[in-house]
Symmetry: C2
Subunit: 388 residues, 2 copies
């Protein structure tokens, strides 16, 4: 028996309750039963986004939601600022170009958060931009961008703040209305602990004012169509995934949103401590800007992470991803998003230690596990565990 | 206990084997395990389409696939012919307009198949069209269009034949390469007997030649990206739905493709006989052009189908859809696509008879059931049933 495991920043482990909820007998997507289901979901989703706006459920991956935001909010020849400090920021720029929208990229080194001064400078150089596209939690680098400060700066300007919170939602605090975010995107296979397939979009009043003046360059992803058909879906919705979403929301509400974010925070600190104890150098220098979804680190000199990850996958069935581009072979990205707790991290780091031993790496056996235990002793969760 | 049932042309009943396959533990979408799964699926799907081309698996509803075809194959200011004899034909025209593509609509009465002479005439009037968009099985009207003849006419012309086979595939014969179809679209919640969520696209060499010269006006649905990432998916794929697809393909292969189409044909004949026996008038006059996925019929004078369907839904939990637009209240559309056999139709028609009695309609109790039995006695399936 070879058990397959993942420690990736989504897709992530899906609890059986959610998997089985998705295996229920289907109902027709225009039936009164489906209307009840959608009403319940539509009542809960805004709480997760911290908004009084509607949240639309799309049938697509997160990339589809990113495209939807661009296709609905902007027009050919518009200019937008794009925060580019990771793979998904770059994707925002690529998508913009497809729609004839010019991305002004605000680049910062991978592993660093975008500098607010740079954002302000870019805006003053291009005061005619219609939006800023920013990724909250960049899973490619393990860094978060300060969307709260960015949104505060643009709140009184004619600029829409579009936030990819695909991995950031439910793992980090996010208050859409309070912070003044205009379009917030999320996806099912991240903090929702679900299989991939659903994406979520919420739209501020400020964004609707712009949207209403634009003919969206998309039919399937048209926000106007979503609004028209709300609370139902304009096309066939992913009924089985929506049943899974019901179970996901129930679990999230039971845990509590703040508690869920805190758990992700402790997971991140545990993974950071584990990697540091094995001689890895954390990739994100600023502790405040480390993602709660994935911990990135550079291997000790001479250790090939491609080889390490290959052993983990082929020998132990454990999928962990590495760095891309110039970081290939040097970086490890340990994911801990969704239904993950400290005990899961013992499994992950135990496997990493086994693989390191096989590679002849120099480290103290059990060091990462000990470091994680020390984090756990300081964690609020230590005392809060309640048998159910 | 109120059992919920559907007799709709998709979503349709999903067999437990497929539901549970979709509830398996997830694997990472870039893992070697997923590569094996995709290779197996990619090996089988072309057989269902009758093609030697690749079949791409999209994470979207069928509408997403329709949009993908338009966004990839055509450019702003292109002209296309659109066969318009139902709701989905009209949708093709709507989507074209979003992309600045001018649809030349070849309209024919709902319930009739497009006339080949009209198609030829439209082409001769607009010899500069770059494509023809046609729905194989129009579930809104219950009619099929003769895509084989249409494709034969355009085979040697600079016109791409784009076929919405979303409900038509697996219920009617379709041989993409032999018939010369250029882009064929399908979706999971129809003949595949799956939940909604996956769509499928196959593309001819002739279409690729055009595609390669065009910058697609979409990122998420870009066929070039699908080709580049094949056999894997460019964005996060619907992993749980792909597991369900494995089970679906296995069931389809076990039954046999020809047998599956024949079963749908017999189902259609049974539904036609059942409705006729209750005094309904079949909406599609030409027996050769009646869809195998849904049977449409006009109620006897004075019978309100909206009321009938409302009783079926609220009292018996049976979802059947009615007519749209001018046919609201007059038409019934009995779906029989996917995992449906004659015995299922006894349930459907038994419920219809109960509801008719409640409405005080005049008919002979059991008449539809008797008519279905007579069809079954002539069916090849009568002798072929094998206990498993």
């Amino acid at each position: 028996m070879k058990k397959l495991r993942m420690a990736t920043p989504g897709p992530t482990y899906v609890p059986q309750d959610i998997l089985l909820a998705g295996a229920q007998e289907l109902v027709h997507h225009r039936s009164s039963h489906m209307e009840e289901v959608m009403s319940q979901i539509n009542g809960s989703l805004p709480l997760l986004f911290g908004t009084e706006q509607k949240v639309f459920t799309l049938l697509s991956s997160g990339t589809g939601a990113m495209e939807a935001a661009v296709a609905n909010c902007f027009q050919e020849q518009d200019k937008v600022l794009v925060v580019s400090n990771g793979y998904f920021g770059e994707r925002f720029a690529d998508i913009s170009r497809v729609y004839g929208v010019t991305p002004i990229e605000i680049a910062s080194l991978w592993g660093t958060s975008v500098d607010m001064e740079q954002v302000e400078k870019a805006y003053h150089e291009h005061p005619d931009v219609r939006g800023i596209l920013v990724v909250y939690s960049e899973t490619s680098t393990g860094v978060t961008n300060d969307i709260q400060r960015i949104a505060a700066f643009f709140r009184d300007k004619n600029v829409l703040v579009i936030v990819d919170a695909i991995s950031g939602l439910l793992s980090h605090e996010l208050h859409m209305d309070e912070w003044g975010l205009d379009v917030v995107l999320a996806a099912s296979h991240k903090g929702f602990m679900m299989p991939p397939g659903l994406a979520f979009v919420s739209i501020s009043e400020k964004a609707w004012q712009r949207l209403e003046q634009i003919e969206p360059k998309t039919y399937y992803f048209s926000f106007k169509r979503f609004k028209k058909f709300y609370p139902m879906s304009p096309s066939s919705p992913g009924v089985s995934l929506i049943f899974a979403l019901q179970a996901s929301i129930e679990m999230l509400m039971k845990e509590g949103l703040q508690e869920c974010c805190q758990r992700h925070h402790w997971n991140a600190q545990a993974a950071q401590a584990g990697l540091a104890a094995l001689g890895f150098e954390l990739f994100v220098a600023d502790p405040q800007r480390r993602s709660h979804t994935v911990t990135t680190a550079i291997a000790p000199q001479g250790l090939d992470t491609s080889k390490l990850l290959q052993i983990l996958s082929s020998k132990y069935g454990m999928t962990i991803t590495g760095g891309q581009g110039e970081f290939k072979g040097k970086m490890i990205r340990v994911g801990h998003i969704g239904s993950v707790d400290i005990l899961d991290l013992f499994t992950v780091f135990g496997a990493i230690e086994l693989a390191l031993t096989e590679m002849g790496a120099s480290f103290t056996k059990g060091a990462s596990i000990a470091a994680i235990q020390e984090i756990q002793e300081r964690s609020v969760y230590h005392a809060d565990f309640v048998s159910t």
